[in-house]
Symmetry: C2
Subunit: 301 residues, 2 copies
DNA sequence: TAATTATGTTAAGAAAATCTGATGGATCGT
DNA sequence: ACGATCCATCAGATTTTCTTAACATAATTA
């Protein structure tokens, strides 16, 4: 009282091709009675005869002839599924929902998407831009597959890999070009322009200056590095930006960009994903690709 | 080291719908471990993970999401095959290669095809017109599925069913309207116009007159009843035609058509097919339909 | 016409796949 | 920390499928 099985369809397809039980059985690498039985089963479960046994000859019935097309189409669809799987084995394929924090996305994404088209041609990357906490939440909730952000991320469910380290650069207006490079303690007492609360880059900057994250300095907080740089250019204070933002944000503006003194502040950028995600191996390869993409964009920039 | 099975696809489809092993198993009417195992098998035979087990949640991987569409399409194709079979169970479906002898085809086919469109709407009837011997040969050779001809047919491999009996009519030119209806013996000595050798109707006519089939009278033999009637109209002799040919062949011609005296000559028309053909039941139904079609055409004619 | 060959079916036991129920480990909510 | 939920694993039972051997039938040959 079972439904039809793929095995039966395969056997029938062979039989329809050979019109000979023995040869079809041989092609299926089974004995001939086994094939006979399966064909009989198939006919029974379809409730209709497919084969006409006529003395020594074996022919398809009218319905059998009709069915063989449909059945071959099904078998082809199975094969397609199989090769789809085989093709997808090594590579990421399909939709890849990637999160990035706002202090990375605008600078990394263009180079990343370009290289991804080369290395993962069948991958559709969907970008989600949000702050770290939000991305982690969405990652755990299955809303995104991976995220690129500043490490470390302390979460038992997530795995991570480092992509690059980069230093922070001091940005101030041209009028301050000759002022000395401030030490962290000095910076602490200067009008330091920062991103909104929630951005990890804000916390990193404050940490460099030795200020706790909760020091209530909300007056000049901005939503983007772009705004910070413009404010600095207008002489409203000094700010820090990550190296990767340099070209895009400071070119053509009235600021000077300088390295700080050692030990320079820096951030580690990496990719994270759910440990449970079985694509871990491919994510590592993706992260490697991102790393290469950043090197290329640095060289050319 | 087996290939994928439909069972696995069904289970996976359920799992993709519920995203819950327990409920999917319930929907499949199996235990949860059974489903787990089959999913695992499927993943192994595809060589790629479909499901991401994440703590308490069950999600599809990117590939899983991609596969579920293809798999559902396959399952739908299977269902379609199934309902195709179910629909075909009662009815003839698809190509039906039907033979007819030349003294039946032109008169029966129009009515038959019309009624067949009503009763067997999904049947494509392909007509093959040939003499009895040829049709029997083609039937046994699997070139056609059934044939309508004069019975009896003496062949162990073939089954037959009677569709109708019909009498032969005397056809002669109008100038002979007042001559008496000839007895068979009289007919024997008249210029009797006949079909070519090979047409069973020729043999039947000769038999009525008490002449052996091999009596060498080839002079006026014709290829069609239509020609015979025209020859009779031209006063070249008398001929016999089957009742079903009356309307089509004699209307508007210069002949008179008359019944012969009892015992009237007649022929039995039936359908034959290979005994081995499992569609026998449906062929009977088809023959019944043909019978009705002839009654309708007689009534209206 | 009887033996032979080719072909497919039926039958019985063996092998393989699949299922169930019990068990265990992990996660989540309280 | 405890109980509940959920999925994986395991061992044994069940079902399906396969193979070999025997049988039936039709075509071929002697």
């Amino acid at each position: 009282m079972d439904r039809l099985s793929l095995r039966q369809l395969r056997y029938f397809s062979a039989l329809a091709r050979f019109l000979h039980f023995g040869r079809a059985a041989e092609a299926c690498a089974i004995s001939q009675p086994a094939l006979s039985m399966q064909i009989k089963e198939l006919e029974q479960s379809l409730g209709i005869n497919l084969i006409e046994r006529f003395g020594r000859q074996t022919r398809l019935t009218a319905f059998g002839e009709r069915a063989v097309g449909a059945i071959d189409a099904i078998l082809k669809a199975i094969d397609d599924l199989d090769s789809l799987a085989r093709a997808a084995q090594g590579n990421l394929v399909g939709r890849f929902r990637l999160g990035m924090i706002p202090t990375i996305a605008p600078y990394l994404f263009p180079a990343l998407i370009e290289k991804a088209h080369e290395d993962f041609p069948r991958l559709d990357i969907l970008l989600r831009e949000a702050v770290t906490a939000k991305l982690v939440e969405e990652l755990e909730g299955g809303k995104i597959d991976a995220a690129i952000m500043a490490l470390p991320i302390d979460d038992d469910l997530l795995a991570s890999v480092t992509i690059l380290r980069e230093t922070f650069l001091l940005v101030r207006s041209k009028s301050q070009a000759n002022a000395p490079i401030p030490a962290p303690e000095t910076l602490k007492n200067m009008p330091l322009l920062l991103l909104d609360d929630g951005h990890c880059f804000r916390a990193q900057a404050l940490s460099y200056c030795g200020i706790g994250a909760n020091a209530g300095r909300h007056a000049f907080d901005a939503q983007s590095l772009s705004t910070l740089v413009r404010m600095a250019a207008a002489g409203q204070g000094v700010t820090l930006i990550p190296e990767m933002a340099r070209d895009l944000e400071t070119r053509g503006t009235d600021v000077i960009v300088q390295y700080l003194n050692d030990p320079q502040p820096e951030r580690v950028i990496g990719m994270i994903w759910r440990k449970a995600n079985p694509m871990a191996g491919q994510y590592l390869r993706f992260a490697e690709m991102v790393q290469k993409a950043t090197m290329i964009s640095r060289t050319s920039g």
